[in-house]
Subunit: 328 residues, 2 copies
């Protein structure tokens, strides 16, 4: 069987059109965001919306629960959808909800989203005291059931502590090296080196605020950044986590940034003059851009097997070992 | 493989002692009650308690999701625990929660518990207008995902309508024929005949209020009632649904009867002089009583294959065909 194409993160305004683009692009599995600031009950409403999509578009998508579902997607010509949270708000203050959300299909959970959470610190806080008491307990429980720790929006000390505290490899599903583009959301060398040496995975982001030159970032620059990362961290720990937010109204990015925690307006990576979603690079407007990136990786010198590993083979291996109890 | 022993309903004060009694009695699967009046979120707390039990007593019990799990229980010398609701309160007013609770392992749901619900009428109401609009929609969705309609505590017209509206066989997991012991919770001949002719299942109850002579009911009388039922409805539609409430404090039966719906005290099948749980018959105090019933069935003339069918073979067949999408 060919190596699959896997996207480590999307949060689009889901539609049949987008699911058809996934198929046209040969995208076999996508980790989709279910929650930013939702309570448990609100998060369940989001799952219900996915159940309606799975029923209506059964010929295009289905719920993925383990690595085998990526192979099943390839065989059946469908896309396996894997659930994740960008914030631990859906588990509230209740460690028992970790196994519950895993039973419901959730496979990734960020320990924090920009702000301090009950578990860890977000990358926009002034101070990062590291993992909380609940955070350490939650990681142990996540390790037990097979819910992957994702530190994409967390602060660096918390991230380093999560890497060392977790008994199983963790992920930064969507971010880029700060060495290429210094941004609050991109990750310093120390974090990426620790991530790779612990067997973790980095998904390269195509969200313009994470790109050198933003919306004008070139394909060549993006792919050369991946080549440089492969040299630094090894090709085995790299994948794509596009952070694609296709067809979303700007109200959605406002919700992501502000939730219910402020009465002022937080602009996150934007600013008052550019408060909305930034325009995607011309070469990555939709899932169809996956074929463009694959070509770009060849152009910067990756061999076929390395290109396949980055486009999905590495995520496949990570999915195979991460979504059930240890050793399963 | 031997025919399994299956109990169609219990709601005990769960403990290692009880799980060890299940094993000592060779009880391979038990449908346990998760909710009486709980909201969705409260019900999830009950599931979390079960997850703790599954983790602590993994050598004795595990979560059953399908008929194959009964066979797995037999092979591994454990008991498969199947979840059910005695009331639809956990799905609130939200049809999408039916698939969600199924994903969490729930396999039975009563459409009403004594009172009128959003779906159907309970057996203590003065008037029974039959299935509601939501009730009909809910049955169709339960049929789709494989969540069994249970009408144990429902009123007769609602029950007859559920039998005819459901595209798949339903269950009355715990009740007895009113012909043997006229009681509000026992079922008239018309209901039991319709249940059996539609492929449904009746679980015979050992709750004293459902028994002729109550706590003094004899084993011979109980088993003769089963023999009479087999003659009337056919042996294939009969099982045990003991309604065992072992080691429960009386506060629990008060919660069952009163929930949060009354400021007065409803005594249900009890009365002010006997407000608590009635004493179990001497021959059925715990799961160990299953072996006693099996002997009693032989004594009233059942052949070995008929006895095995009633003790669990019929439930096994029903479990095999009821807990997934149609045809799965």
């Amino acid at each position: 069987m060919a190596t699959p194409t896997i996207d480590g993160l999307q949060y689009s305004n889901w539609s049949e059109e987008i699911f058809r683009e996934m198929r046209a692009a040969g995208v076999d599995a996508v980790h989709v965001t279910i929650a930013y600031h939702e309570t448990f009950r609100e998060m369940v409403l989001r799952l219900e919306e996915w159940n309606v999509r799975f029923e209506r578009h059964a010929e295009l998508i289905f719920l993925g629960r383990g690595g085998d579902d990526v192979r099943r997607a390839q065989q059946e010509g469908r896309t396996a959808i894997f659930f994740g949270f960008q914030n631990p708000s859906p588990i509230e203050d209740d460690i028992g909800l970790i196994e519950i959300v895993h039973s419901l299909g959730v496979r990734f959970m960020q320990l924090s989203y920009n702000n301090q959470s009950l578990l860890a610190t977000g990358c926009y806080e002034d101070n990062d005291p590291g993992l909380t008491r609940f955070g350490k307990q939650a990681i142990a429980e996540m390790n037990r059931v097979g819910l992957v720790v994702d530190m994409s929006h967390s602060a660096d000390r918390s991230t380093l502590e999560a890497i060392s505290h977790s008994q199983r490899p963790i992920a930064i599903t969507h971010a880029n090296p700060a060495l290429w583009h210094p941004a609050r959301r991109n990750k310093p060398h120390e974090v990426l080196a620790a991530l790779a040496s612990s067997g973790g995975m980095l998904g390269f982001s195509l969200y313009p605020h994470h790109l050198a030159d933003g919306s004008n970032c070139t394909l060549a620059s993006f792919c050369q950044m991946i080549a440089d990362s492969a040299e630094r961290y090894g090709v085995d720990h790299l994948g794509i986590g596009s952070d694609l937010c296709q067809n979303q109204p700007d109200s959605v990015v406002t919700w992501m940034r502000n939730g219910r925690w402020t009465k002022q307006t937080d602009y996150g990576e934007g600013n008052p003059a550019n408060p909305g979603f930034p325009p995607q690079p011309s070469w990555f407007q939709s899932n169809l851009g996956f074929r463009v990136i694959a070509d770009g990786l060849t152009q910067v010198g990756f061999a076929e097997n390395e290109r396949a590993a980055i486009m999905g083979g590495n995520w496949q291996r990570f999915f195979d070992h991460s979504f059930g109890p240890p050793g399963s």
